[in-house]
Amino acid sequence: MTSPASAQSDASGDAAQGERSRPGARELLGIAAIAAQLVLVLAVVRLFEIENRTFFDVMALATAGFVVHALLPLSLRLPFFAGLSLATVVVAFGFLDGVALIALGLVLIAIAHLPLGFWPRVALLCATGALYAVWRGGLLPQPWSLTIWPVLASMFMFRIALYMHARLHDAAPTTPLRALAYFFMLPNVCFPLYPVVDYATFFRTYYDRDALRVYETGVRWIVRGVIHLLLYRLVYLHLTLDPDDLRTLGDLVQFILTTFLLYLRVSGQFHIVVGALHLFGFRLPETHYLYYLASSFSDFWRRINIYWKDFMMKLVYYPSFFRMRRFGQSAGLIGATLVVFFVTWLLHSYQWFWLRGGFPIESQDILFWGLLGALVVFGSLREMSKPRKRKLGPAPKWSLSLALRTVGTFTAICVLWSLWSADSVSSWIVMWMVAGNATLGSVLALAGLFTAGVLIAGKDWSIREKYDDQAPPWYRRPAVTSVLPLLALLLLGNTQLYAPRTPQVATLVASLQGSTLNTRDAALQHKGYYEKLDNQSRMSAQLWSIQAQKPAHWVGLSETEAYVSRKDFTLAGLVPGAHIEFLDRPLSVNRWGMRDRDHALEKPPDTYRIAILGPSHVMGSGLADGETFSSYLEQELERSRNGVGPHFEVLNFGIAGCSLMTQLGVLEENALRFRPDLIVVTDSPLLANTVVNHVLSVVGDGYPIPYPDLDALVRETGVFALVDPGPPVPFASVRSALGALGIQTRMPWREARLRLRLVENDLVRWTFSRVAQVAKQHGAVGAFLLLDNVGNPPATPVAGLEDARAAGLVTFDLLDVWQGRDQAALRIAPWDNHPNPQGTRIIAQRLEELMQRHRSELRLEDALVTR
């Protein structure tokens, strides 16, 4: 039979295309208009810092490349596109890494073309893939950077299968030039998560319609993608919630809804990718199609990540169906669908390995794909027996049935998505504990949300790209779909134009003009959460883009020889006399277990001694010995005394990752021996979180709480059920019921954490009171220093500061210390926000100023008088 490959000539030989190879006046005008729109796109990308710097560079290259490409004769366009694509690899990775990536890719292409049988070539490809996997895992030395692997993988991990499929079935010509264009296609270097573009479709749709219309579609999709990415930022920065912070039904709904809305990032990126390919004549189909408006699970599967669905259909579903249909159509359909979802789950982990380095096999993934697969099977069987109504155009009338089905599907997908995104199945179940906390306001808001959803979802919004001879309606013309939104974004991005009148809108828009972490991710990064839990598969894309830069040796202090895990309430300490290399800097611990020079236990005469306790920014993570802010503070105070009054000695009792409670333990056991005049406990805005984690560890590990009043406070929460024998079962009522049946159970860690979060402020208050009490008993002044790593201060006041004041501690608020400064220049590394020596000097100077301002409270005058 005639295969599409043999029927389809190479681009240069097609007569119809040849007619369009030399642009006339209309084309020239059209190309100029498209180029102008692309310049507007570039301005928006720059103004809002969309994605990263590489993306801007590649888009700039694509814009210039588009003009040259469109003006070239058709026969030269594909070679030019391939060359431009290869150039972007070098632009993005630099010469050495770029060439390495291309060479590693060429090896795979060469294997695909070896004069061997099909299966021997597949075996060779698998063997080469296994070798690459060893390199990806960092198990073999390699002369190139590890960062090339996610992009190389995204170019080949699925597309090589489609390429081989095309070669096997002669679905499209496979020449070296086409292979270069296909595998290294232009925007891929910016997007490791990339749509699985089908080889046959890639070339079947190449300049098969009016070029100008194709280019216009490309710009429209790029603009749509940019809008998706900005909406994603809005959701990510301002609407998402930490599952630990859920308190009411409203919080729960917001959390579930926004978790699904975060998918806008993927659809935004894919729109940009496919839009960019349109600019070079590849009239590819849409990757996503109004997926929030799916009216059934099968419909959802067809609308979201369409390229993945098509990839699965081609390589898994149809071959499986053809094998199984002898058992009947329904059996074939059920079997093939289940195989598809099983393979999707497996390949999801495979993809994760190449992109992030781990191979997650997690229960929530299995549940998500299993449930979605079952729901799609159910929907497909229903459609087999009762075909869905199709229309060639959108249905003119609003339909309640469509509205309810769409809202129902959306709600169910949101719930499923929240399960998929959860840290664990138990944390997801525990999350629902707050569903009973409904206020009238939240119920009304939910009703409003539902009504709005029904009103929107009842209308058929179907709009597909059309390439017929009719002029598009006014609302689909480039001026409306591309130019207007771009101009509006440019106007919106210049916040100084309207900031005096609407400062809130200006602040909101300004927050979207950059790729920053939201509160939750900033907190996770701060505490090295993922280093401890290895939960990289649940890490947000935003956080991952930063964490991926971190070298392998960049570990937490707890993984080093300088750290000791204690088996008591204090939990942590430093090993006396340890000398290690930590985060590329020497770290020495003195004989007293302090990250400091040696100090005599006895306080020298005429000396005002300050004991500073705190986490990593006090200990000095990523700083050499002597570069901590406590060292600089001592120098500043010595300088400011001007030869008059007492000397100053600042003792550093910092331990990375320690909570206020660890600080209390270190204070009572160690610091008090040095008879300090001033005791400073330090923490970040996340102080309540670390205190909760501390209590959880103490209870979970079965260490006694040496303070009766604190012990009573913790007991009231019931979290000692965490150490009961038996498997973890959420909800006290369920545990009681099982207990009545003689089945032993314990409280899950997540539930215990939630219960402690409800009393976190009481725990913090207790700790401050105890610090103040101890300081007073030992004749010292107690103080609390609120200090964060380099970054902007939180939008809301930190409750702990007022609690510290109420407990009688002097407070130093240094949260604004980084504001208005070049923050990137003050961090120890792009992936680590700890302050560098320049940053710690700034802290020391600010703290010294504040101490001078509080001289009387700190009894500095007393010290002067008595000494």
Binding site: P4, L168, A200, T201, E383, R390
Partner: protein
């Protein structure tokens, strides 16, 4: 059996089975039915069964793809090629 006859037969089948009430002439020979979402996976499988039964041909799994079934033009080419092979 020629291309135009095949296109008309398939067009009528598609309208009767999947687009009741639509005007058959609205489906042009080059209209992309799979790409445009008119034929989803289930409809495509039904169309495959129809082609196999009606024209006594057998399709391979890789032929259930837009390259072969997206348009009436492509379908007619496929059927003619398969029929010719059978002869």
């Amino acid at each position: 059996m020629d291309a135009s006859e095949i296109k008309n037969t398939v067009r009528e089948y598609i309208v009767a089975e999947f687009l009741p009430g639509e005007d058959p002439s609205a489906i042009g020979d080059s209209m992309e039915m799979i790409t445009q979402g008119i034929l989803d996976s289930i409809a495509t499988l039904k169309l495959v069964s129809f082609l196999e039964d009606h024209y006594r041909i057998a399709l391979a799994p890789h032929e259930v793809a837009p390259e072969y079934l997206d348009t009436l033009d492509a379908i007619s080419k496929l059927v003619l090629a398969k029929a010719a092979k059978r002869r």
